[in-house]
């Protein structure tokens, strides 16, 4: 009896929940003690600025401490911990806790957070329905019509919030001004892809894809239109149609036909309507009245897979497997992931995922130099820089290399322009990007890529601070605390710094205690990368070009015409060189030398952080949302699987798609854990 079976299942699930809740009780008791001890400490030392009266930076620790478990506000507590650690808080000038009190607070917080028993949590999260990103939209249109139209070019630019990815559900808004674009685009698409008079090969290809049945003496218009529309709509909606939908579509077709439109124009009108339907524009997943988490269905799984790995709709094979109910079979899914990664469409993992995670999507647009002053800074070079990192990332995935290769690799991708302009590599001829061996231990891995080095520089100078923050935040996922809001400019005199020894550099901020806490941890990472100039060229020395008065002192003289003098003026320059000291260190780590030393230190001392960061970023992208504390069990289980599989990239991807949050969801408003 089906009814009985179901109710047994519900009972079983409730039982599991009860057991989970009970197993959490021990931890809860402990937590209550921690909170009990922490509350007065926080009240005494923090509440003046972060309490009920004033909530500086929006943080109210008095109310936060009462939100159990503390891991619920993991991010804020981590900020609290790091601010306490480096002595940023309480701020200098404010009453300070005793050394013992500070240590006790840190102990209590760290213990409670690090030792939290995450197995007590059963929550896969809930991915809010979201619209397609502009990239996903263009790709989906390409796959539906078999032609790349890129109609989103003049759409409002996608803005990026805290998740760092465009596909984050909390930044994908649907405003009427965007709706206008969709409506206009729908018309443009049917007009361009399906003109009344096909001319180009692409036109004929699209017709074959869309007009899957042509009415003739045997097949009536009605029958043909049903086949055509059912085929198109089920692809556009990425699931089988329900009867009412097909009925509504054929009615719309018939109405258009009776209004005097041709057969094809009537079909096109239905297609145009489908392209502005929320069923196409939004990633719809069916809801379920449920107290407990539930598995997403086959079609939803197909879409999650394809938008994650391809940034586009599922293909025929995925649809077929979903229809057969086989896609969710672990073995089938593993095979499909392997197949999908081999497909060219998976390049979006490099062009979209890696680009947005690592920030190199900005190279050439936000990161760029005026080519009038910098003629070498061409569009093609910018493209090659992006492609290098993107292709490198894809080879990590396709060749199933270990995560460490991201940091330390013996190969990369270049073309002639990139090789000669920035890397001083000879013998590479031609525009196409190709894989080359890299024997230089400083260069291999993304920290030696021109794209990354440029995006962590300031225009035409390097920035040890930016590079340090980049490594700690983007690469390791352990961001230093935000600078205080009113710190003003960081008065770091780079010129002076270049004259300093390593020790002096580290202590540069000692005049300002407020800055030193963090910058003594940040800057030394960047110091070790100083041999890479602002666009990643290698240099052994800093070259200072200064104006001098006489020709005797000069090593270069130029003649210029000025407005102020009738005669041309000669200006003399002298360049002095200073050897770069590239010693550096990781926070609380040993001193090492140069990029190569940095890479070894990262892999030796911070590999766990690197792995966790790669896992977190990929899981976040795959789900289209920021991670929450309840995703921690999934992150941990993926890391555990990686440890057993040499940290290989395909293991990572396979485990992400097999993870609980990727395959399950739980309604938001009934959160129990």
């Amino acid at each position: 009896m089906i009814g009985a079976k179901n109710s047994n299942k519900v009972k079983l699930q409730l039982f599991v929940v009860t057991v989970l809740l009970m197993s959490g009780i021990g931890a809860r008791g402990q937590e209550a003690e921690v909170v009990h001890e922490l509350e007065p400490l926080l009240a005494k030392n923090c509440a003046a600025c972060h309490g009920p009266e004033t909530q500086t930076a929006g943080i109210n620790l008095t109310s936060l401490i009462r939100e159990a478990p503390l891991v619920k506000n993991l991010e804020t507590w981590r900020r609290v911990i790091s601010a306490l650690e480096v002595g940023k808080m309480p701020p200098p000038g404010a009453p300070q806790p005793t050394v013992a009190a500070r240590a006790r607070m840190l102990d209590l917080l760290r213990n409670d957070i690090e030792n939290f028993d995450f197995s007590t949590i059963d929550n896969p999260g809930f991915e809010l329905m979201r619209r397609l990103t502009h990239t996903e939209y263009d790709n989906t249109i390409r796959d539906l019509f078999g032609v790349r139209l890129d109609v989103t070019e003049r759409f409002p630019v996608e803005l990026i919030g805290n998740s760092g990815f465009e596909n984050s559900s909390n930044t994908l808004f649907l405003q009427s001004s965007l709706m206008e674009r969709y409506i206009g685009a729908a018309q443009t698409i049917v007009d361009l892809a399906l003109p009344a008079e096909p001319i180009t090969a692409a036109h004929f290809r699209t017709r074959e894809l869309i007009y899957t049945k042509i009415p003739d003496s045997i097949v009536s218009e009605k029958e043909a239109s049903e086949i055509v529309l059912s085929n198109f709509l089920s692809q556009a909606y990425r699931r089988p149609l329900i009867d009412e939908e097909l009925l509504a579509a054929t009615q719309q077709f018939t109405l258009a036909r009776s209004n005097g439109l041709s057969y094809e124009s009537s079909i096109k009108q239905v297609i145009q309507a489908a392209l502005i339907s929320p069923k196409f524009l939004l990633r719809v997943e069916s809801g379920r009245e449920s107290l407990v988490s539930y598995q997403i269905n086959e079609w939803e799984l197909a879409s999650r897979l394809s938008y994650f790995l391809w940034a586009t709709m599922p293909d025929r094979e995925l649809f077929d497997l979903a229809a057969e109910g086989r896609l969710s079979d672990p073995i089938v899914m593993e095979q499909q992931v392997s197949r999908m990664l081999r497909d060219e469409k998976a390049n979006t993992l490099g062009d979209v995922f890696a680009a947005q995670w690592l920030g190199f999507h900005n190279v050439g647009t936000r990161i760029w130099l005026d080519p009038i002053d910098n003629p070498w800074c061409t569009d093609s070079l910018m493209t090659a820089m992006r492609d290098e990192t993107s292709m490198f990332f894809m080879s990590l995935v396709r060749d199933n290399l270990p995560i460490r290769t991201l940091i330390d690799a013996d190969f990369t991708y270049v073309n002639e322009e990139l090789a000669t302009t920035l890397y001083n590599i000879e013998g590479v001829v031609g525009d196409h990007m190709r894989r080359i061996e890299v024997s230089d231990s400083n260069r291999g891995g993304i920290l030696g890529h021109a794209s990354i080095l440029a995006l962590t520089s300031n225009y035409t100078t390097t920035s040890p601070v930016k590079r340090g923050v980049y490594v700690l935040d983007t690469i390791l996922g352990t961001p230093p605390p935000e600078p205080p809001p009113n710190v003003g400019v960081l008065s770091q005199e780079l010129q002076e710094m270049r004259e300093m020894s390593f020790r002096e550099k580290v202590e540069m901020h000692s005049s300002n205690e407020y800055c030193r806490g963090c910058h003594s941890r940040i800057d030394p990472i960047g110091f070790s990368m100083e041999n890479f100039s602002f666009f990643g060229q290698w240099r052994d020395t800093y070259d200072f070009r200064v104006r001098v008065d006489s020709e005797e002192e000069a090593d270069e003289s130029i003649v210029i015409n000025t407005e102020s003098s009738p005669e041309p003026v000669t200006i003399h320059f002298k360049t002095t060189k200073r050897r770069i000291s590239s010693q550096g260190s990781l926070p609380d780590g040993e001193v090492f030398d140069g990029p190569s030393g940095l890479k070894q230190a990262l892999l030796k001392d911070r590999y766990e952080d690197l792995v966790r960061q790669v896992v977190s970023r990929m899981l976040s992208y795959s789900l289209g949302r920021q991670l929450e504390y309840y995703d921690e069990p999934a992150v941990r289980s993926i890391i555990a699987a990686l440890e057993e599989n040499e940290f290989s990239f395909q293991t990572l991807i396979q485990k992400v798609v097999a993870s609980y949050p990727f395959r399950y969801k739980k309604n938001l408003h009934r959160e129990i854990h």
Binding site: Q175, Q187, Q269, Q272, G488
Partner: protein, 449 residues
Amino acid sequence: MKSRTFSRRAILQGVGATVALPLLDVIPAFAQSPLLPDAGKNRLAYLYFPNGIPRGIWYPEKTGSSGELIKLNEWMSPLEPFKGDIIIPSNVWTPEGNGHVDGTPTWLTGHDYDARAVNAGGVSADQIVARHLRDQTLLPSLELSTKGEGYFSNSLPRNAISWSAPDRPMTREIEPRTIFDRMFSTQSSVNSNRTVMDSVLADARSLSKVVSVEDSLRLDEYFEAIRALERRIEFSERQSTEMANDRALTDTLVAPAPGIPADHQSYVRLMMDLMILAFQSNATRVITFMLDHGQSNRYFNFIPEVEGTWHALSHYQNASGMTEDDDGSTSWESVAQKRDMYAEVVRWHHTQVAYLLDRMKNIQEPDGNSLLYNSMILFGGGIGDGNEHDASHLPTLLAGRGGGTINPGRFIEHSEQTDLGSIHVALMQRMGVPIERLGTAQTAYTRLI
């Protein structure tokens, strides 16, 4: 008739490089109509600028005994001809949400910003007004912005001042042609879209039954967007016949060329021309225009004697050219020189505002008053002194008479900090919105009259 005396050609004079649309294709969806009962009512515009100001350059040089503006300082001198049309309040601040990141999204909400949740704490003042007036104009509001340059151009908080819901920023338009097209769309596309939209709506409604409660909220966003479009189409249908007969307008309506003008001043002025066109045609009565995103790194080297990026200049206390904010190729002789360049950039923006005010003052409305008289323009930003990311002494300037509800020509000195939100409330009330508080502000500002 007096109301017809203004030159419509003048409306578009500033449109710079323009391309005429084939006239037969363009039947304006909607434009100024003297028959409309609401024509001539108050208009509200917010002009946002980032990066703050050097301390002190927002105060007038000379004022009368009761604060009348007698002479502006040198950095505000472009506004000298309009000193009778503006109010400069001193000591304005926002208690919450400050700096480049948090101060931008909350400039018009008066709350704090939660970056993780993408939440500005409340609906922004312009959107509160837009919602109130939405059935009276073609577009409930217009959100404009210049195209971002450099870092942070796609950073959400730095590009969002208008929020239709606490967690939903409005999309901003950067291309003059797109803005023009939104106001004056072609008749044919409106019609065919109507058919398509009708057919999709019924089908889409069935979806709400399938998805979860949470998702149906997201679906509401979709329906809301469609409803806004429907309202707009109905509006344009009501007006189209009338507009088709208004040869004076159709003959002179010239659409700007697609793309972004290369010259920044032409670009900003073209956007201002479109603001005026929108107000004049009653296409909308609420406009926000971000003169740049919240941490602009734009170069203003086109101003003589100015070097370096805007944001770098704002940190004027360090003139070495060697700080983290610098571009590595610009340095300054002294703090004073750098500060002056920073002030020059602010003055340049005053010049553009003066252009806007000048045009608005010379456009006569059906009621005999100028467009400026019937408008309220709040010009300012969320940072006081840029070098210190100051949360108080926010540069704030109000222009226009709000249809006679504002008594301008004054510097208003405040001995105590005045919440910017209270000024927002006072302006919203003048747009007919029954509202008493916004964000941290519990009352309306009372000294405008």
